[in-house]
Every structure is written in C-alpha cells, then in structure tokens.
C-alpha cells in the first residue's frame, strides 16, 4: 500500500506534498458546498470560500479554475473511476453491456452515504437542482470528460477516426446515467428523511427504460 519509495520512475509527485494538496482540495470543496448550501452560489464570494477553507484567495483560484468548480471535485473522482474502467474493457465483446456494468460499479462505489464522497455527491446534486450556474459548470466539465472517454474507447477498439460508434456509446450511456442522477437528486429533495433512494436502482430503472425505448418493436 505504502512504500513506493524506490521508484524506478523519474516521477513527478511526492507523498507529502501530494497529500497536502489533496487535503486542501478537499477543504476547499467542503467549504464551497457548505457556503453554497447556506447562502447560495450568488450569496457568497470566492473570498468567503477561500477564508472558510483556510487559504488565500489567490490559492483558492489555483485549485478551483472557477468558483463553481470548487464544488465539483466529487464528480471528477467519479469520472476518473469511469475512465479507468474504460481502459479495462474487452474490446471484442459487446461494449454497451460492459459500459452499463461499469457504471453500476462506479455508482455503487460512490453512492454510499457513509463514505465521504457519497455524502458530498448528495450535497452536490441537491445543490445542482437549485443553482443553474453550478449545473452549468457541472455539465461543462462533464462534456469535457466525455470527449476523453470517447477518445480512449476509440483507441481501445481501434475504430477509425470517422466512426461515430465510440462517441455514440459514451454519449448514450452517460445520458442514461444523467437521467438516473437527476431522478436521484429529485427524490433526495422530495423526501429528505424518507427512505433513501438508491442510485443504482434508479440507474437500472433508467437502463430498463432505455431498453424499452430502443426495442425493435416500439
């Protein structure tokens, strides 16, 4: 687990600095989520968030490309996980089911309300419903990532550059995920105390609807 001490790699990042970096990133994200919840995105300044996170305003903007993006760290983690999974797909078996299974795995890993990332994910998606500027930022980073996924998938399958298939696979599977997450957020808000809606369930319902809609018959 630890002791990667003797790296044959020339390497870039070192343990201590890296750890601190992750820590302040988390601090900033937490502060952003909290202040956004309390005062709304427009109701607090980047300075406020920086102060709450214990860093200078200048440093804040080194971590967060944008005030809004400060709260989007979690989605980055999820997309990292997905990207890693994409690299491990078997290119000569049907890809759609593999991608769907991958999403189930990724979502399951992050939905857990007891994990730190799971809780952040809830808070974020609750916020996304009320804050168009946040939603806009989320949608924009998501779009950037998808381009990368499609590229990776194209390389993996050896598709010619003008074959739309990899992009179609990425776009449609993530579209289904998006529907599931939206419904999840909706239900989180509708019944904050009620029975916890299950992200993976919702995703599987969305996949079912997708299958129905694309079934040859109707």
């Amino acid at each position: 687990m630890t002791t990667e001490v003797t790296g044959p790699t020339p390497v870039g990042e070192e343990p201590l600095r890296r750890r601190r970096r992750r820590q302040t990133e988390q601090d900033i994200c937490e502060a952003a989520l909290t202040l956004f919840e309390e005062h709304g995105v427009a109701g607090c300044t980047a300075d406020d968030i920086a102060r709450a996170a214990g860093v200078s305003s200048r440093t804040f903007f080194r971590y967060a490309v944008t005030k809004e993006r400060a709260a989007l760290v979690v989605t980055g983690d999820i997309e990292d996980a997905f990207e890693q999974g994409v690299a491990a797909l078997r290119p000569d078996e049907p890809l759609l089911p593999q991608l769907e299974a991958l999403w189930v795995e990724v979502l399951r890993r992050h939905e857990n309300g007891r994990s730190a990332s799971g809780r952040q994910l809830r808070r974020l998606y609750r916020l996304l419903r009320a804050e168009p500027s946040l939603r806009g930022a989320a949608v924009a980073v998501d779009d950037e990532r998808r381009a990368g996924f499609a590229g990776a998938l194209a390389e993996l399958t050896g598709a010619t550059p003008d074959d739309p298939t990899p992009a179609i696979l990425v776009e449609t599977t993530t579209a289904v995920v998006r529907v599931a997450m939206d419904r999840w957020a909706e239900q989180l808000e509708a019944a904050p105390e009620g029975p916890e809606p299950d992200l993976v369930d919702l995703y599987e319902q969305a996949v079912a609807a997708f299958r129905t809609v694309t079934a040859p018959g109707a």
Copy 2:
C-alpha cells in the same frame, strides 16, 4: 396605477419593436461570431462586441446573458424548432422514430449554407472546437433546454412524474445529434474547401451507429 383598463389581451410584443429587437439580437450575434473568430473569445471584450454591434455595453448585456452566449443565438433557434415539433408528436405511436424524424427535419432546415442561420451555425461550430468556454456555454444552455423538452414530452404522453422514459428519449436522441454535430464541425475544419459535409447524412450515420450498438444481439 390603472387597473387593467385595456382590453382582453394585456399583450406583450408589437411588430416594430419586435423587429428591432430581433435585428439587434442578430447584430450582436454576428459581431460576437466575427470577433471571436478574429481574436478568440479571450481576445476581445464584451465592450468590443457591443461597439461592433452598435449598442452600448449595458444593452449588450440585456441581450446576451453572458458574453459567450451572444454567439449562441442560432442554437436557440434550432431548439425552438425542436420544441415546437415535440408538441406536435403523436403520443400513442412509437416516439423514438418520431423524434429522429423530427431532428432530421430540424437539421435540414438549418444546415443550408445559403441561409443566414445555416452559415452562422457553421461558424459557431467551427468556433466551438477551439474555444472551451464557448463550448461550455453551449453545453449549458443545451442542458437547460433539454429539461424543458422532457417536461413537454412527459405532459404530452401523460407519463407519471417518476417515469424516466421522457427524459431518456430526450437525452438519447439529443446525444446522437450531438455526436453528429461534432463530426460535422470536425469535417468542416478538416476540409474547409472540400466537399461540404452534409449534416443530415452525418446524423443518419450516427443514428445507424446507435441502432447497431443497441441492437439486441450485440
């Protein structure tokens, strides 16, 4: 103030004012596209665009919610057309093919290189490839519109509010469109003088790929 003195319709827009409004909207959009092409989004200020469009900076921001959005008028037209089409769907026949046909119609209407909107669409999509901030804005407004489409579709079909089907239909069909438009932009850039890539063709190829990928067998 007076109490509803006027007739049955409080009414909103009148011919002359409306026309002028459309005109300045177009002027601003044109100016934005031109300056973005010449200097890049970061290379020109909102003031520059306003001046080029012949309006004050203050007025510019009355039309363009955001500097970036000034260039996105065309996509708004397309989405208006789609939304209108959605209202005219037959809810008791399979919706996916209807939506696909609707997109063909909408795209055909706007791809024409000789129409003003067609030319603007080209310029915009060329820009989107090089300007992440523009792309981000485009993706964000697109997302807002999709929520409306899904709502309209849900109402049309009488789906229960927790049925993911309308959202799935909207998200997947627009995902396919997005792939087609991306390829279109890519080809526009790759061969600016070559044979004009046909948006409708590309869309139909994307639909074909979608069908293949979702076919029950593989």
